[in-house]
């Protein structure tokens, strides 16, 4: 039996069974060390899967840190320290330095610090980042309660549109197109939200595989029904223009785009803070499914091993 027979998530389930850990399953692992709640996470960017070598190296470094910060803030935490494990071919030193300039910039922006790492030779470039954070209160995926409002931050679907634009390799890009590309190659983690999440949210995760797929993960972990409303799902002006131009449906991008690094969380509807980037897109009900406009939503996410 090959990994492609059971998929990435099937494999992870089997590996969790071996480890018998009760902790695994959220964006970060919450551990208590000497009475303090710490969050551990790691996320990797692999050449030709998550980026191409013609991307600006500083953007790759920025994104490598951002995707990890996104996991930490999704659980209501603050990033503290990071290690960077590079696997790289014999490439230009200037490229690796550019990568590190992006890493350094991101750390300054997010208020964390790279304190070590590792360099190893390999055939393709990969940047594996490990991050340690702390939280007043850890918020995972499994606590959503009936009656909670379902919220997302920012707008969804931009990153996939940006990726598609990049792959078109056009000689000239319009402004709205550059904005979408920027969302793909240089995403920003929602460091404006962890305090709100840590204080009010019953469940929270980041949207890295697409809303449809990630909503299912939250519904299953919390054993609840997520009832979403399509007209509430936030879409940017740029994505709307892009979709109009190319005859596409923005909702499709928002549901299955992936790599937006926005947050999906639930809490009492009245805790919505209009000064924060958040909108209510649904309500938590009894059940264990995800519905969109009262119709069952297929979990159309991304599986690294299934979509080969």
């Amino acid at each position: 039996m090959k990994i492609s027979d059971i998929g990435e998530f099937g494999l992870i389930e089997r590996l969790k069974d071996i480890l018998k850990s009760s902790i695994i399953g959220d964006d970060t692992a919450p551990v208590i060390v000497e009475g303090k709640a710490l969050l551990l996470t790691c996320d990797i960017l692999v050449q030709d899967r998550h980026f191409k070598l013609n991307y600006p190296p500083s953007a790759i470094g920025w994104k490598a840190i951002s995707v990890n910060v996104s996991d930490v803030v999704a659980n209501g935490g603050t990033p503290l320290y990071s290690l960077v494990s590079l696997t790289l071919p014999d490439m230009e030193v200037g490229f690796v330095e550019g990568l590190y300039h992006g890493i350094k910039k991101a750390c300054e922006f997010y208020g964390c610090e790279v304190v070590g790492g590792n360099v190893s030779k390999g055939e393709k470039l990969s940047i594996d980042v490990f991050m340690l954070g702390k939280a007043e209160r850890f918020v995972g995926r499994s606590g959503a309660k009936r009656g909670d409002g379902i919220f997302v931050s920012g707008t969804l679907g931009d990153s996939r549109a940006g990726l598609e634009l990049l792959l078109m390799e056009k000689g000239h890009y319009e402004d709205f197109e550059l904005k979408l590309i920027e969302k793909h190659i240089r995403p920003t983690a929602r460091i404006d939200l962890p305090k709100h999440i840590s204080k009010y949210a019953n469940a929270s995760m980041d949207i890295s595989d697409g809303l449809a797929s990630d909503a299912w993960k939250l519904a299953r972990a919390s054993k609840v029904k997520l009832s979403l409303f399509s007209e509430k799902i936030p879409v940017s002006k740029e994505l709307a223009v892009f979709c109009k131009k190319h005859g596409k449906n923005p909702l499709e991008y928002a549901l299955s785009g992936g790599e937006d690094y926005e947050l999906l969380f639930t809490h009492k509807p009245e805790k919505l803070n209009p000064f924060l980037s958040m909108v209510q897109i649904g309500i938590v009900e009894e059940g264990e499914v995800v519905c969109l406009d009262n119709v069952l939503l297929e979990p159309s996410g991304f599986d690294h091993f299934r979509m080969l």
Copy 2:
């Protein structure tokens, strides 16, 4: 300028300059979180560089954990929690499960726990492990004092002999050969030593690149001269037999073998504990070099990018 022009260590120096961190440079990064001293480290095993796919998968998993525990104990710490980041091709699920059985066994042995990780698709298998430990007192490379004795644990050079035996692909191996192979594919981190190191050592590191190379790193970090005596360097009976059979010099293996994961540390000579696996191999003097039997020792270590 390519990485091979400046080598792995030259690259690391440039990246450290960009980050401007005062912490980077030891086996682990010591950080203080809410008043507690924590150690962070990561180390990767890459297919065809650190192991071959015909090794027992559980041994690869065991080694991936062991090399990280080795970094933690080298700095006087105890391993606590770990994340495992796998990059893997579409391979047999049974192989990956075997790998995780080895990881689980190692964690049980060392008293730590895997609390999360990441799975990503790539062309070759790599296992990147991140580890969080704690220490009563962090001991790095830079504190060696004149008059200290220089100590190593265990025996040196076995791992390289084991690797050479493996590469011979013999149909039958003798018992002493199997012991050397075992030292290479299933090294054990020195969890018997961190308490002693944390209590007495002025400087400490693990020997992963070979004694000659690693002794230079300690000498430079501490700005001292390490004066080593060849007849004191511990060599196993198995390595002696191997070298006699193949017309090799055991000292050569002990000095530049690498991957032994024994510890190199310094403290007052009278703190030697005869109940622990440690022998004095030299003394710390004024200067910033490494000498063997009063002759300058070449740092004949391993550089991933130079030895292509």
